[in-house]
């Protein structure tokens, strides 16, 4: 069935399930749209651009000259390591059914990408629209790569390279892959639509018990929904079909990650990426302790130009991250795009203005920090908020993150070297909670996606702001606890195995020379 046929069917609204049932007996494999495929490939590469060189330069510019290469090296090596882990077992752990543990983590059925080839497909957010599974794997892989790399900013300039490698392998395995599963694993729009269509067809058959045509249609719908043909044939009457359809609907609705099941909204990774990495960073910096000389010696960024280049590349790449999370190059992607522009600009301006008022001068570092804070905050909300809502979210994020990075950090005295907690975790929490508010259509939001009330179409569900905010808060709280405690255990474990910190002498000398045997600038 082509997507064009499907879109025509969407237009038939209420009658869609009957037509769907008759049109789909010989369910042909959907063909991915070339435009969607090309778009997702470009989006994937843009997310790669965020990590290298974006994040490497952004972080590298913020450290001292003697640790520039170590920062770049840690980011780059983490990226390569996670790519291999992702295709080996990470994708399977995140995006397959995990059996008894399915609420928390996927299984191992696609380990070594078993069963995946260039013809297999991954669902998007529109009924009947698919993208090649390889492209989806690559897209999600770039997310798995950048998230652990974000943590490095909090523990910069004082962690051994061997500890970084071991920690990253453990962290993605025990924290990131399960988190991605819990938030993003679901059966896709067609699984929900087909199961719901079967339920409605069965209801119609029950209502007109003598109509065999309706009963046949209900049975066909049930097969389409994924129930075996033999099992369907064995069903005696409409009531049995209805029961089977209800069971199937229940299966589809429960074959999702835990946070997805709660109804938590996270379009591009506020919980999975930013809160997750941010809290891990805070735990890491508390456990490692401060850099030698922190608070006594000056530790200014060694190159704010590189920092600016890195932040600019992050913004450019973030369009792949946010807009690509739409998974289709359709009209809605445009809304995600404009949100990613304006929320970021808003946060950059609000950070700049608050800094100007509080510290006397508007700094470039403040402006680009605001850019990152805005991008982080809009990440979960970019596919749910309206344009004006996004600006408000950005403005708030710039101010709150500024307070955390300049006042709260110094008040508590922890050495979150490059403000991973203050920007990614705090901005992520703001964005996640804000999503629950800004999704409301009365505030210009999109409403909550609903694939079941009119099967085969994407409807807008009603939003109860208070309820949605509670769900979002629950998801945030869970992520903070899960990632915080999990990261603590892993940091301790790595400390026991290889040790976390280099010797004092090596730290003073700089990790470029002592860990990597080279220096960033030879002139």
């Amino acid at each position: 069935m082509t997507s064009r046929l499907h879109r025509t069917m969407q237009g038939l609204a209420a009658g869609a399930f009957a037509l769907a049932a008759s049109a789909m007996p010989a369910l042909a494999a959907p063909t991915p749209n070339n435009g969607d495929t090309a778009f997702m490939m470009m989006a994937t590469i843009l997310v790669l651009l965020m990590t290298v060189p974006g994040l490497a330069l952004f972080y590298g510019g913020l450290v001292r000259t003697k640790n520039m290469l170590s920062m770049c090296m840690q980011v780059f090596a983490t990226l390569c390591l996670v790519m291999i882990l992702w295709v080996t077992y990470g994708y399977s752990m995140a995006f397959t059914n995990g059996g008894g543990l399915n609420s928390f983590v996927g299984g191992f059925s696609k380990t070594f990408l078993t069963g995946v080839d260039s013809t297999t497909l991954a669902a998007t957010f529109s009924n009947g629209v698919y993208i090649p599974e390889y492209v989806y794997i690559c897209f999600q892989m770039t997310f798995a790569c950048i998230t652990p790399a974000l943590i490095l900013g909090a523990i910069a300039e004082r962690i051994k390279f061997s500890a970084v490698m071991l920690f990253m392998a453990l962290w993605v395995t025990f924290i990131y892959f399960p988190m991605a599963h819990m938030v993003w694993y679901w059966g896709g729009p067609d699984a929900f639509g087909n199961a719901s269509a079967a339920v409605k067809a069965a209801e119609a058959a029950v209502a007109a018990a003598t109509d065999t045509a309706l009963l046949d249609a209900a049975k066909t719908a049930l097969i389409t929904a994924g129930v075996g043909e033999e099992a369907v044939k064995a069903l005696a009457d409409a009531a049995a079909v209805k029961a089977a359809a209800d069971t199937r609907m229940g299966e589809v609705a429960s074959d999702v990650g835990m946070l997805f099941g709660w109804g938590a909204l996270d379009f591009a990774g506020g919980t999975v990426v930013h809160i997750n990495a941010g809290i891990a960073g805070l735990v890491g910096c508390l456990l490692l302790g401060k850099r030698i000389g922190y608070g006594k010696e000056a530790m200014p960024p060694h190159s704010l130009v590189m920092c600016m280049v890195g932040a600019a590349l992050l913004w450019v790449g973030w369009f792949g991250f946010n807009v690509g999370s739409n998974l289709e190059a359709n009209a809605f992607a445009g809304q995600v795009m404009i949100n990613t522009f304006v929320a970021t600009a808003g946060a950059a301006l609000s950070w700049m203005i608050v800094e100007w008022l509080a510290k006397g001068k508007p700094s470039l570092l403040g402006l680009v920090s605001g850019v990152i804070a805005g991008l982080v905050a809009i990440t979960p909300a970019c596919g749910f908020a309206g344009v004006m809502g996004s600006i408000v979210l950005g403005l708030v994020a710039g101010v709150v993150c500024f307070v955390f990075c300049s006042a709260v950090k110094h008040a508590f005295g922890y050495d979150d070297s490059l403000d991973v907690f203050g920007i990614h975790c705090v901005g992520g929490v703001l964005g996640a909670i804000g999503t629950g508010i800004l999704v409301a259509p009365s505030l210009g939001g999109t409403g909550i996606p609903d694939y079941t009330s009119v099967p085969g179409t994407l409807q807008v569900g009603a939003v109860d702001i208070a309820n949605q905010v509670m769900i979002q808060a629950k998801a945030v709280g869970f992520t903070l606890l899960f990632s915080g405690l999990g990261s603590l255990i892993l940091f301790v474990l790595v400390g026991l195995i290889v040790g976390l910190r280099p010797s004092e002498e090596k730290e003073r000398e700089g990790l470029d020379i002592t860990d990597h045997g080279e220096r960033a600038y030879n002139y």
Binding site: A298, M299, P301, K359, K361, S363, C405, H410
Partner: protein, 112 residues
């Protein structure tokens, strides 16, 4: 022979060089240095972390001149490097025992 060591504001270097060349001086050595005098430092703020920067960038000029020229050279530097603001720098004069030009083996005033 006298060694003239002048610490000046970096942006005054070109004017000082021009003034000394006009006097007929054949060369000088320039180093980028940091230091402080009465000007003290300034404050830099990075994401709310304030650093007092005590050492400011300056340029150090070293030139060895025949004793007869020393007073004029000092006067020329002082005139060219002056802005009237705090932080203009200082000039030190010290005696030099001997000079050798490596290429020719010439010594003292001939080597300058």
């Amino acid at each position: 022979m006298k060694l003239i060591t002048a610490i000046i504001k970096p942006f005054k270097l070109e004017e000082v060089r021009a003034a000394l060349t006009e006097l007929g001086l054949q060369g000088m050595t320039v180093t980028e240095v940091k230091g402080y005098g009465r000007q003290k430092g300034h404050t830099e703020i990075y994401r709310g972390a304030e650093y007092a920067v005590s050492f400011l960038p300056k340029v150090k000029i070293e030139a060895v001149v025949p004793s007869t020229l020393a007073a004029k050279a000092v006067e020329a530097i002082a005139k060219a490097a002056k802005t009237g603001q705090i932080g203009d720098g200082k000039i030190f004069i010290s005696p030099v025992e001997a000079t050798v030009r490596i290429r020719t083996g010439e010594t003292d005033d001939e080597a300058l």
